[in-house]
């Protein structure tokens, strides 16, 4: 027994140690600083809940939060629909399926900042040129209006992450037993019925995973936001992560930024965990 305990702690200590150093300690310190007037170097007094009270009246923060929520809803839906469609496509009997898998996954290998700049070029220059050619004015103002900024970000994110979500769906699709599909076919099920009533329930665990990934990822996006729109025009496409960075670093209000980060952390944690909990309940076991 004693021996077992020793090995247990032997294995767990490095993880615990690094987790404490890089996650738990910073969170606790951050929570502490959010109650002070910390400026990044030192603090002179405690301000209680003042920062949190101020948050409620901070128009730009609330707008950023709302923008992030809208963005997350749009990108979660599109990511899952497109990711699943791509997965179905490359698990079908297409000849080019292997190369397609690679192609779809590729954008995920490019860093967010670079992708942002590439798409900025596409939206501003390529779209404008096409718009000029075919005489469509709405193509010429991309990223210069809040609406196009929003959809620009969604398109970029979906393009980048859909391949990754596809891979997860592929894994689950391949785990669907052939016998079930065969017997459904023998019973005369149409391809759609097969998908809706056999495949769909069986890949439900995949939704738990992909929803969690897409949700937390969309909420926390920063680099794509920074390089594609920089929050512009007039901070209308500024997401929460960027709002926090701007407050803390360019506004030099470290403690206030920290309190925003704590609130943001709580929101993401609550949404992600409850989402996992409800999805888990819906899964079917074979």
């Amino acid at each position: 027994m004693k021996n077992k305990e020793f090995t247990f702690w032997l294995f767990i200590t490095p993880v615990l140690l690094s987790l404490t150093l890089v996650v738990i300690l910073p969170v606790v310190m951050g929570l502490f600083y959010s109650f002070t007037n910390w400026n990044g170097l030192n603090f002179t007094s405690f301000v209680g809940f003042n920062h949190y009270k101020r948050l409620l009246g901070d128009g730009q923060f609330l707008r950023s939060l709302w923008f992030t929520v809208k963005f997350s809803i749009a990108s979660i839906i599109l990511l899952n629909v497109i990711g699943l469609s791509l997965a179905l496509l490359v698990t079908s009997k297409l000849k080019s399926r292997n190369i397609l898998r690679t192609v779809f996954f590729m954008p995920n290998l490019i860093g967010g900042l670079i992708l942002g700049f590439i798409w900025q070029f596409i939206f501003i220059r390529v779209f404008a040129s096409i718009g000029e050619l075919i005489g469509v004015e709405s193509l010429q103002v991309w990223l210069a209006t809040p609406g196009t900024g929003f959809w620009g970000l969604v398109i970029l994110t979906v393009w980048q992450m859909a391949g990754y979500i596809m891979i997860i769906y592929i894994a689950y699709l391949q785990g669907v037993p052939k016998e079930l599909l065969e017997s459904a076919e023998i019973d005369g099920a149409t391809p759609f019925q097969k998908f809706r009533h056999v495949i769909f329930p069986l890949i439900a665990p995949a939704f738990t995973v992909t929803m969690f990934l897409t949700l937390s990822n969309s909420f926390k996006i920063y680099d794509q936001n920074l390089s594609l729109t920089g929050g512009g025009p007039y901070n209308s496409t500024q997401m929460v992560a960027m709002n926090i960075v701007d407050t803390a670093f360019s506004g030099n209000q470290m403690a206030y930024g920290q309190s925003k980060a704590i609130i943001f952390f709580l929101i993401v944690a609550v949404i992600s965990l409850s989402q996992v909990y409800y999805n888990k309940k819906r899964e079917v076991d074979l």
């Binding site: 490095p14 170097l41 010429q140 210069a144 809040p146 007039y234 209308s236 701007d246 670093f249």
Partner: protein, 444 residues
């Protein structure tokens, strides 16, 4: 049994290894702290020991030339080792500077940009009043960083100025004389003249207003209209509890003029498009920018840069023909060091600005507009810098106040409000009112 034991030993070794790595990492961290630095350089027989100078600065454009200068200094002074870190972009630099100070890895010489930054690092700045450079600084460049008791916090890098930079050839062909554009009405008339012959002149628009870069409007253009009410002094701006925006109407007219005759869409147009694509390729007649764009213009087209560009002030009633000129950055020396290191840092800065080799570098390699006396006979390398130097020599300048804006004011509040106005999302009155309120709440 034996096997089991064996694997346990191996596990133990792994664990010990992991701990060692962790400990080593921690050890390194504390070793690089300020204490370590001080003891390294401040040995008992001071002078013969090597002095390490870590420089951190926020003007990335001249990093390469600055390193060359440091190499030359190290050759002449073998007991000094200089290590330079340059970080670009105003906010990124300040973030990293704060990070380095809070992690204990403090630089010995660092740059600061305005009253906000100076106040935050006040306690760590050595008094510079005993340096020769402080004595030689041009009038108006050092008063902002001098205390009543004569203490000087920092010394200026250089001077920079901005205005409307124009394409000589285009203006000439359109029959517009840039020398005569000293009031808003004259400028407006000229803009209309140029606009009416756009096709003959081969340009796409008169201006390129980079709406995506809020600093062009919120810092530079606004400065022209806020400078008079803030006494042309960034410290006054820093201490102002509120803004009156007395000249909001003039500001609106100028912004409207630029936006109306600009390349569209304004709000996604950025700095590099404005300078590289539209101006240096002759697609627009004029842009609102400063002498810092010269190296970019030169890279794009040396001939064009050398002979085809000029700069005029932004017209302002009562302040005609005054170019907005200011000190973008200051050098500060870290006072948390021993005396020998502080002195070595000051010696290096003196040498850079006042020795013959240093001056040569400052003018022809850094392309700086010098903020010091003793450069009268030297030739300034480019026409835009020459214009800035001429205006400051003649005292025809308008002070920069935007360096004294509340931290983040332009980026998070003022700039976005102006963008919202341009985007039709706010009326001018709303934008100005919101900007006034933001100023007051940030000053509380």
């Amino acid at each position: 049994m034996l096997e089991n034991h064996d694997s346990k030993v191996r596990m133990g070794a792994l664990f010990t290894g992991a701990c060692a790595v962790l400990l080593a990492a921690c050890g390194n961290d504390s070793g690089a702290g300020p204490g370590g630095m001080g003891t390294e350089s401040g040995g008992s027989d001071g002078d013969s020991e090597t002095i390490q100078l870590n420089i951190m600065q926020g003007k990335v454009e001249f990093n390469e030339q600055f390193n060359e200068l440091a190499d030359q200094y190290m050759e002449e002074n073998e007991n000094v080792q200089i290590e330079i870190t340059s970080v670009g972009g105003g906010t990124d630099y300040f973030t990293q500077l704060t990070t380095r100070f809070s992690s204990g890895d403090e630089p010995d010489i660092f740059s600061v940009a305005g009253p906000n930054e100076i106040e935050q690092f006040q306690d760590t700045m050595a008094d510079m009043s005993d340096t020769e450079a402080a004595e030689a600084a041009l009038e108006g460049t050092i008063e902002n960083v001098t205390h009543d008791d004569g203490r000087i916090d920092a010394i200026p890098y250089n001077l920079e100025g901005y205005g409307f930079i124009y394409n000589k050839e285009v203006l000439e062909q359109a029959g517009v004389n840039p020398e005569e554009l000293s009031t808003y009405e004259e400028l407006q008339e000229a803009v209309e003249t140029i606009d009416s012959q756009k096709e003959d002149l081969g340009i796409e628009a008169v201006f390129a207003l980079p709406g995506a870069e809020s600093w062009v409007m919120g810092d530079h253009l606004a400065n022209v209209y806020l400078s008079p009410e803030l006494n042309e002094n960034p410290v006054d701006a820093y201490n102002a509890e509120s803004l009156a925006f007395e000249r909001a109407d003039e500001f609106k007219n100028m912004l409207d003029l630029q936006a109306e005759y600009s390349i569209e869409p304004v709000l996604s147009l950025d700095y590099s498009q404005q300078v590289e694509e539209y101006f240096s390729l002759g697609q627009v007649a004029m842009i609102q920018q400063g002498n810092w764009i010269y190296p970019t213009l030169e890279q794009m087209d040396p001939e064009f840069a050398e002979s085809n560009v000029g700069m005029i002030p932004i017209p302002l009633e009562g302040y005609e023909d005054q170019l907005p000129v200011g000190v973008p950055n200051y050098w500060a020396v870290n006072s948390n060091n021993d005396d020998a290191t502080v002195q070595a840092a000051k010696d290096f800065l003196d040498w850079m600005y006042l020795s013959d080799e240093g001056k040569e570098f400052v003018v022809s390699e850094f392309n700086f507009v010098p903020a010091y006396e003793g450069y009268e006979d030297m030739e300034i390398s480019d026409p835009l810098s020459q214009t800035v130097y001429d205006y400051s020599q003649n005292g025809e300048t308008l002070g920069w106040v935007f360096t004294g804006f509340p931290t983040g004011y332009q980026l998070n509040e003022f700039g976005p409000n102006l963008q919202a106005y341009l985007g039709g999302n706010m009326s001018w009155e709303e934008a100005i009112e919101a900007s006034k309120q933001a100023w007051e709440s940030m000053r509380q």
